[in-house]
């Protein structure tokens, strides 16, 4: 064990946490909106809308995140980058950047899981609560936005907390599309020191710490917004 290397690489890896957290937070915010949208579509009575929303979530939950990133970055990138017409379009401005490719893949992925979490939360809201709103003469729209959505979000907190942790771990795949996140920098250090175990242990420790923080923040929120 090369402890000196472990100590020396620590500050470099810590710097890279910024990139990881940026990827995570942007993907989660975009993914939350996508998830909410598709959860609502799932509750739609129209069978086509319903099936479409289900198809999206099935597609992204049924395939590995790595495949999704590669399709978007290398697959679409190669397809669009070699097509004169598409290359001059706005799509290429976004897909040209590894950062946005990663964000798109992460957001679509977490969006699929989030939609499932929110959907089941909507479905477990007791009908009595909605009826209570109705009997008070509150409009359906307001019941939905002011009662159903907040309750659903509170209900989803434990499951969503897990999803945040899964996504945080998922961001490590950004390194496969040239981004210098925590894993990317770890691989970079290994490329000149040839000592993977030491460097990955330090990087793993940092990830573990982030998991610990996220876990406890979510627990705190659960307590704060508990129904009792």
């Amino acid at each position: 064990m090369d402890f000196e290397l472990m100590i020396n690489s620590f500050p470099k890896l810590l710097n890279a946490v910024v990139v990881t957290l940026k990827l995570l937070s942007v993907s989660l915010i975009v993914g939350l909106f996508i998830g909410l949208l598709f959860a609502i579509l799932r509750l739609n009575k129209n069978i086509f809308i319903n099936k479409f929303a289900y198809g999206y979530s099935y597609l992204f939950r049924g395939t590995p995140l790595l495949v999704q990133i590669f399709i978007i970055y290398y697959g679409l990138g190669n397809f669009i980058g070699n097509n004169e017409y598409l290359k001059s379009s706005f799509i290429w401005v976004i897909l040209k950047e590894p950062y946005w490719c990663a964000i798109i893949a992460f957001a679509l992925n977490t969006g699929a899981y989030t939609s499932e979490i929110l959907r089941s939360a909507f479905q477990t809201i007791k009908p009595g609560i909605i009826e209570a709103g109705e009997s008070l003469g509150i409009s359906n729209k307001i019941i939905f936005y002011k009662i159903q959505i907040p309750i659903a979000i509170r209900q989803s907190l434990p499951a969503y907390g897990n999803e945040i942790i899964l996504m945080m771990k998922g961001t490590s795949l950004a390194s496969t599309v040239t981004l210098m996140d925590l894993t990317g920098v770890a691989k970079y250090i290994i490329s000149t020191t040839f000592k993977p175990i030491e460097v990955f242990i330090v990087a793993g420790g940092i990830y573990l710490f982030m998991t610990f923080v996220i876990h406890n923040v979510v627990k705190f929120l659960e307590k704060k917004y508990s129904f009792n």
């Binding site: 990138g77 190669n78 980058g81 040209k96 590894p98 691989k187 290994i190 000149t192 040839f194």
Partner: protein, 275 residues
């Protein structure tokens, strides 16, 4: 219950033993993704200059060999962890790598070059045909200055953990935006799509790609050798494995004398890259 327990144990045991105990065979690690040095054909078989050379060298050593596939970014760590005994993967002999492993004498040499897509503003730079960075002369220094100005703010793509990455990181051509990839294939894809303004690798890697893909990839600027680019390509061997090192050095001597290396090199590169 006893049978149940027994089956589980026997399965676990057989799994462990399935990894056969290291026999008296030399295991050679290669990447299989760096044509024409080493690559894979459609049926998944390893081919290339180094694959053929490896079989030849093993014949001279007089031992059986197996060729093991290993991703480039873990090549040296895997050698150190004894996943195989020798590296033949277009790996240049550099001072940095020699801190971690030993190298045999060089068996082939390659020059590195920048490549761009036809029509790029980086095409046709005013530099000498080739520069050596071991002791850069006035012309070489001037060429580096030209490159520094031309590459400022550009995205240059390289394969990770290569001499090409080391060179760009060394600051000899100023601050460029370096992007690193796991394989040369990925570098080529992003060069062709336009994500990279330029790419740096062995000149033959680009000409091979241009030929096979039909893409208008052109070389630009000088070819590079010496300095960060090392001194030829050799067999990488663990530091404590001095006997194997000796065996490979002798085999390379014999293969060179009999003309094997230049014959195989000419077959795969189209010119004699042996040394």
């Amino acid at each position: 219950m006893n049978i149940f327990k027994k089956t589980i144990f026997s399965v676990l045991f057989s799994l462990l033993v399935m990894g056969n105990v290291y026999a008296d065979k030399i295991r050679i690690g290669t990447e299989g993704a760096y044509p024409p040095w080493n690559s894979k054909d459609e049926s998944g078989k390893l081919i290339g200059f180094e694959v053929e050379l490896a079989w030849t060298l093993c014949r001279y050593i007089g031992k059986q060999c197996t060729i093991v596939e290993q991703d480039w970014d873990g090549m040296i760590p895997a050698l150190i962890m004894r996943k195989f005994d020798a590296i033949m993967a277009g790996m240049s002999i550099t001072a940095e790598r020699q801190k971690a492993i030993s190298f045999s004498q060089g068996y082939a040499d390659e020059v590195a070059s920048l490549a761009v897509m036809k029509g790029s503003s980086l095409e046709g730079l005013d530099t000498p045909a080739g520069i050596n960075l071991t002791k850069p002369d006035a012309a070489a220094k001037k060429a580096l200055k030209t490159l520094t100005a031309a590459l400022a703010g550009k995205t240059v793509c390289v394969q990770t953990a290569t001499i090409h990455q080391n060179f760009l990181d060394s600051g000899d051509v100023g601050k460029v935006n370096v992007r690193t990839y796991k394989t040369q294939d990925e570098v080529n894809l992003d060069l062709a799509s336009g994500r990279c303004d330029a790419a740096l690798a062995a000149a033959v890697a680009f000409s091979d790609y241009a030929e096979k893909s039909g893409k208008p990839v052109v070389l630009t600027g000088p070819t590079f050798s010496g300095g960060a680019f090392g001194n030829g390509v050799g067999v990488g061997i663990r530091k404590d494995d001095t006997e194997l090192l000796k065996a490979f050095n002798n085999a390379i001597d014999k293969a060179r004398k009999n003309g094997d290396i230049s014959r195989i090199a000419t077959k795969w590169f189209g010119f004699d890259a042996s040394m």
